[in-house]
């Protein structure tokens, strides 16, 4: 039984010498590096790569590399397994370990089930543990449907996986084997958590933080659809709901203690929590004390994602969707809205985005930041397009188009 968890680390990988990501196919001999800088590496082609964007889609894993975040080289679908069936699997979760730069990929083959693959060379080669990396114990009737989220703890090698059905797993070996965090699985509320349209899962895992006041290695916040936000302050031994003030339009009680369909929770640069809910956008410096609506000024309060600025407090992005009945962008227009004042006001931020009618929405893990000093922001859509911008460019540009549905993106400066 596992009843303890660890603390948070920064999302950005720093100062770790990186290997070159090899091609998916064919393999070519690497060329000798001609320039060496601490934050740059050389790919097999000899080009300089500064940023790696990992893209999980409904049909396979792609990567894009760039040294300026405007021109990207796309690769994929990556060959995760020699049998080639996982290459077309749905990639619902990607994690990049900020210390080791190991890339973890949670993929689900509709035929042959879920598993976790990893790469220690930035996507050049992929490996799957010989045993099932994540499996429910024998005394549990449920079995793993898919991984929804990876998060990394303070201790090297500590990885958390939020999965479907609603469960949290923990690894201490870098993501090769996981153990169920039992107290959350045994929570008396669990029988009242039920699946939304996307499945019942813990999709947000935020180690080390339960308030804006500071970090604590014994603390963690998770969010689930449905179920809401839960927090532990004692290494995972006990968990309490932290969803007061968040609406549940699908329940008789509009503001229940728990049971909400929270779609994503993010933490701002100052530690303040933000939530994009199944109708409703919220802010809280202390989720256990309640949440405040910040949806006013948005074209819709429905959506799946909140992307927080890694350095500037109060700055974040949402990606509105019409409603729970209509999962399309408002006005048939791909929209990003940005706040610079913690949700007190919102501004459209769509410079560079398609102006023609657009029908692809952004899913709950379809956005990320590379957390660089001049941070890059990324999002992908169900129409298979991926866009990027940076603080300094303030204009979205296309990274890749016409991919399968984008389910998740993660980026790192290397």
């Amino acid at each position: 039984m596992l009843d303890h968890i660890g603390g948070a680390v920064q999302a950005r990988a720093k100062g770790v010498p990186a290997r070159l990501p090899g091609p998916t196919a064919p393999v070519r001999e690497p060329v000798a590096p001609v320039v060496t800088q601490s934050t740059r590496i050389h790919r097999h082609s000899g080009a300089i790569m500064t940023y790696l964007l990992v893209i999980g889609t409904r049909k396979g894993l792609f990567t894009a590399t760039s040294d300026d975040r405007r021109r990207w080289e796309l690769r994929g679908p990556h060959r995760l397994d020699t049998e080639d069936y996982a290459n077309m699997a749905g990639v619902y979760a990607v994690g990049i370990d900020p210390r080791s730069r190991r890339i973890l990929v949670g993929a689900e083959s509709s035929h042959f089930g879920p598993s976790v693959w990893f790469s220690d060379d930035l996507g050049g080669t992929w490996h799957e543990p010989p045993h099932a990396p994540i499996a429910f114990p024998d005394d549990v009737e449920d079995s793993l449907t898919r991984v929804w989220q990876f998060a990394f703890g303070d201790e090297p090698g500590t990885v958390y996986a939020g999965v479907e059905p609603h469960a949290l797993f923990r690894s201490t070996d870098g993501g090769q084997s996981f153990e169920l965090v039992r107290p959350l699985w045994d929570h008396p509320h669990r029988t009242e958590w039920f699946p939304g349209a996307g499945g019942g899962a813990i999709h947000t895992v935020l180690p080390g933080r339960v308030t804006a006041a500071g970090t604590d290695p014994a603390a963690m916040t998770v969010a689930m659809s449905t179920g809401g936000v839960y927090q532990t302050r004692d290494n995972g031994a006990t968990w309490a709901p932290a969803s007061q003030g968040i609406s549940a339009v699908f329940l008789p009680e509009e503001f229940p203690e728990y049971g909400q369909c929270v779609h994503k929770v993010a933490v701002g640069a100052d530690g303040v929590f933000y939530a994009q809910n199944h109708h409703g956008v919220y802010r809280s410096p202390d989720p256990a004390a309640g949440w405040t609506s910040i949806a006013e000024g948005l074209p819709s309060d429905f959506g799946f994602n909140f992307l927080a600025h890694p350095h500037r407090p109060g700055v974040g992005y949402v990606f509105p969707v019409i409603s729970q009945e209509c999962h399309l962008p408002p006005g048939d227009h791909l929209q990003v809205h940005r706040t610079d004042d913690a949700g007190e006001s919102w501004q459209p931020d769509d410079k560079g985005l398609p102006q023609e009618p657009y029908y692809g929405i952004v899913l709950r893990d379809g956005t990320c930041t590379d957390a660089a000093a001049d941070p890059g922001f990324y999002f992908g859509t169900r129409s298979g397009d991926v866009f990027a911008t940076t603080d300094s460019t303030e204009e979205w540009s296309l990274v890749a188009a016409h991919l399968p549905d984008v389910l998740c993106v993660r980026a790192v400066e290397v």
């Binding site: 049998e83 509709s110 035929h111 042959f112 089930g113 598993s115 010989p130 099932a132 429910f136 079995s143």
Partner: protein, 108 residues
């Protein structure tokens, strides 16, 4: 008794590249000691898959989930019959039968 397990190409790497695996389960029927209740010892799809899992655990993960349930879009035929149309994993497997594992028609 013996059965032959036939694997689709996509799963053969998990069995060292083998397309067919011959396995012996228990004693030959005519030599088997009758159990106390008088019933014949049963060889079932489950026991065949259990033996397959013992030899190739990575293969079993593709066919069954961690609770031993057949994955939804994996079919197991005993000779010409898909086991779900019979008794599922409890389907009896006769001596000399072919147990064929196939991905179902699914996906998009």
């Amino acid at each position: 008794m013996g059965v032959t397990v036939l694997l689709p190409q996509v799963l053969q790497a998990h069995a060292g590249g083998a397309a067919r695996i011959d396995i012996l389960l228990g004693a030959p029927l005519d030599q088997a000691a009758p159990p106390l209740d008088g019933a014949a010892p049963a060889v079932t799809v489950r026991s065949v898959l259990d033996e397959l899992a013992r030899r190739h655990p990575g293969l079993d993960r593709r066919v069954r989930d961690e609770q031993g349930r057949l994955r939804r879009y994996v079919n197991v035929f005993v000779d010409s019959d898909e086991c779900r149309a019979l008794d599922g994993l409890d389907t009896a497997v006769p001596d000399g039968a072919e147990v064929r594992i196939l991905p179902s028609v699914a996906g998009g």
